[in-house]
């Protein structure tokens, strides 16, 4: 019964997500099945978690489950009918050369291995206390996190102020299984990784026209040691890999929108962008940066009117979540002080130490091997190319590398350096897929960069 429930949870989530994806891609008549499946997962997570949160403000229990499931099915039906009306047809891209076949097979094998390894490992510290805990408590309270949780100082360690994208997706699985289950809940984390790997392959293929390069880069992802061995990696149920996937998805679609001027790419960028701050609080930094980049693209393409609705949902979500926390009397987070100019002046002397620690962390070969060195070379190469899209990608990688460490100027820990060493590497992980994208684009030779092989893209 439990497995049936799990299947029901995934089915409804994917139907809802697929509906949103088909609505977003409604301008396309040829739909890439793999792209649709990955988007269905990412948007399904967003749809289900947001509906559970919003629905939970006025209902609970079975009624809440039925409401969310019904809305998912409605979204699926609307999306499907829209695709039918536009006579869209689905295609499954197939490898076209021996090299592509070998790379695609190796990638699939690697993804299976990642999936299996995720099932073997326990949920890590944050995976258990920051995310699964919320899902469990909400389940035990008929699908709604009680106000007493938000205001409990004794459970402040579980960061009640963190957004509910991940925990309420876990809750959706629990609601359908009929019980909290720390083993089966782990099945959702490799799906983020798999979606991320496919998106990297897709974007590189789409921008460079070289599918083998996209597959190769996707294949190289887990060779960064952090991905599989450290807290924050794919196997411990943290939100860092999911956040990195939403970030690279939004970024990739923004680049595609710029390179190929497709309306659907810009809409997909906007939808992915909206969900970034819903996955983890640090997503606010990434959201802000990508929103500014979207504004620049809007200016360049004379589509400023499309930009405003692209950022508004995310803005509403950020403000709405803050307001909700205030209403719930959330216990004040203690990791960072409220940023003020006075505090900035007082702590400005930290900047040099912060810079030094950031360099130490990013050059730690035990965590990153030579990854950031490759990324640095790629970034230099992209800057030298002097093309707007490449500069945008460079900003998306370098911006957070600079912004993230600077947030520790406002660290409220007794030792801000301890705060940095305990969390900064995980923040850099958010940029890893984006940096792989930069490496992939840099590897594509200038001669063929501009070629866009339509047959390979869809």
């Amino acid at each position: 019964m439990m497995l049936l429930g799990l299947a029901g949870a995934y089915f409804t989530l994917l139907v809802g997500g697929a509906g949103v994806s088909l609505l977003i891609l409604r301008a396309s008549t040829r739909l890439n099945l793999i792209e649709c499946a990955c988007l269905a997962w990412l948007f399904g997570v967003g749809v289900v978690s947001l509906l559970l949160w919003l629905g939970g403000t006025f209902t609970s229990g079975l009624a809440l489950q039925c409401l969310v499931a019904a809305l998912c099915l409605v979204l699926g039906i609307v999306g499907w009918r829209t695709a039918q009306r536009r006579q869209a047809h689905f295609s499954l891209p197939r490898p076209k050369s021996t090299v592509e076949w070998i790379l695609a097979t190796a990638l699939l094998l690697e993804l299976v291995i990642i999936f299996v390894v995720c099932l073997k490992h326990t949920l890590g510290w944050d995976g258990l206390f920051n995310w699964e805990l919320k899902a469990r408590y909400a389940f035990l309270n008929f699908g709604v996190l009680p106000e007493s949780y938000y205001s409990s100082a004794g459970r402040a360690f579980s960061h009640p102020e963190y957004p509910l994208g991940i925990p309420f997706t876990e809750l959706w699985l629990y609601v359908w299984m009929g019980a909290p289950h720390q083993f089966w809940v782990k099945t959702m984390f490799p799906l983020f990784y798999i979606a991320g790997a496919f998106f990297i392959a897709l974007f590189i293929t789409r921008v460079t026209g070289k599918r083998w390069l996209g597959l190769l880069i996707a294949l190289l992802l887990p060779f960064v040691p952090f991905v599989t061995t450290s807290p924050g990696g794919v196997i411990v149920g943290y939100a860092d890999i999911p956040l990195s996937v939403y970030y690279v998805t939004a970024l990739g679609y923004l680049l595609c929108s710029l390179e190929r001027n497709l309306a659907s790419s810009f809409t997909a960028y906007a939808a992915s962008l909206t969900l970034i701050p819903w996955i983890k609080s640090e997503g606010l930094v990434l959201w802000s940066l990508l929103a500014v980049m979207g504004l620049m693209v809007g200016f360049r393409q004379h589509r400023l009117r499309a930009f405003v609705p692209a950022v508004l949902p995310g803005l509403f979500l950020i403000v709405g979540w803050r307001a909700y926390l205030k209403v719930m009397h959330v216990v004040t987070p203690s990791d960072f002080a409220h940023p003020t100019l006075d505090l900035l002046r007082d702590h400005l002397s930290r900047v040099i130490t912060i810079g030094r620690i950031a360099i130490v962390e990013i050059t730690d070969t035990a965590l990153w091997s030579t990854f950031w060195l490759l990324a640095l070379v790629a970034v230099i190469y992209l800057i030298a190319a002097r093309r707007f899209a490449r500069l945008l990608l460079t900003t998306a990688v370098l911006g957070p590398v600079i912004l993230y460490p600077l947030t520790y100027v406002f660290s409220a820990w007794t030792s801000y350096t301890a705060h940095m060493t305990s969390s900064l590497p995980r923040l850099f992980l958010h940029l890893m897929p984006a940096a792989w994208l930069a490496i992939g684009l840099a590897l594509s030779s200038p001669k063929t960069q501009s070629e866009t092989l339509e047959s390979k893209l869809v």
Binding site: V116, V117, K120, R136, S148, G154, K186
Partner: protein
């Protein structure tokens, strides 16, 4: 590939257990099997409106982790986690005596001798119900 390699070579997943993670941690840290269920049994008679105070060693990460595990498993009871150093323990426990408190948990922390009636939960957790605090339940 220090994690991926051995995991693949072992060629099995699981155990498929609802408390897969918490049981693993309790087993590793305090040598109790099926710890999550046993913990629930330990506190099942406590009325939900009563709270717990959890004492952890401020200088020990495993102790703090255990404290969080106890807090995690204690839902829906309210909890208060107190980071202690040896000299402050007596004062902190004295301050925790209240009729709204169902008991005290000591995670890798030795309770003061004045507290009686403690129950060992594994090798590192001691639970002192409020009767041991010299209060009426």
């Amino acid at each position: 590939m220090p994690i991926v390699g051995p995991a693949v070579l072992e060629n099995k997943i699981g155990p498929v257990d609802p408390n897969h993670s918490t049981d693993s941690y309790l087993s590793g840290l305090i040598h109790v099997r099926n710890g999550s269920q046993l913990f629930s049994n330990l506190i099942e008679a406590v009325p939900p409106e009563k709270s717990f105070v959890i004492f952890v060693d401020a200088d020990s990460s495993p102790s703090q982790f255990l404290g969080m595990l106890v807090a995690y498993l204690s839902w829906p009871h309210d909890v208060r986690i107190v980071n202690v150093r040896g000299a402050t323990l007596e004062r902190e426990t004295a301050g925790a005596k209240s009729s709204s408190i169902a008991g005290l948990f000591f995670c890798s922390v030795k309770p003061p001798a004045s507290l009686t009636g403690g129950t060992h939960f594994g090798s590192e957790i001691i639970f002192v119900p409020n009767v041991g605090l010299g209060l009426n339940p």
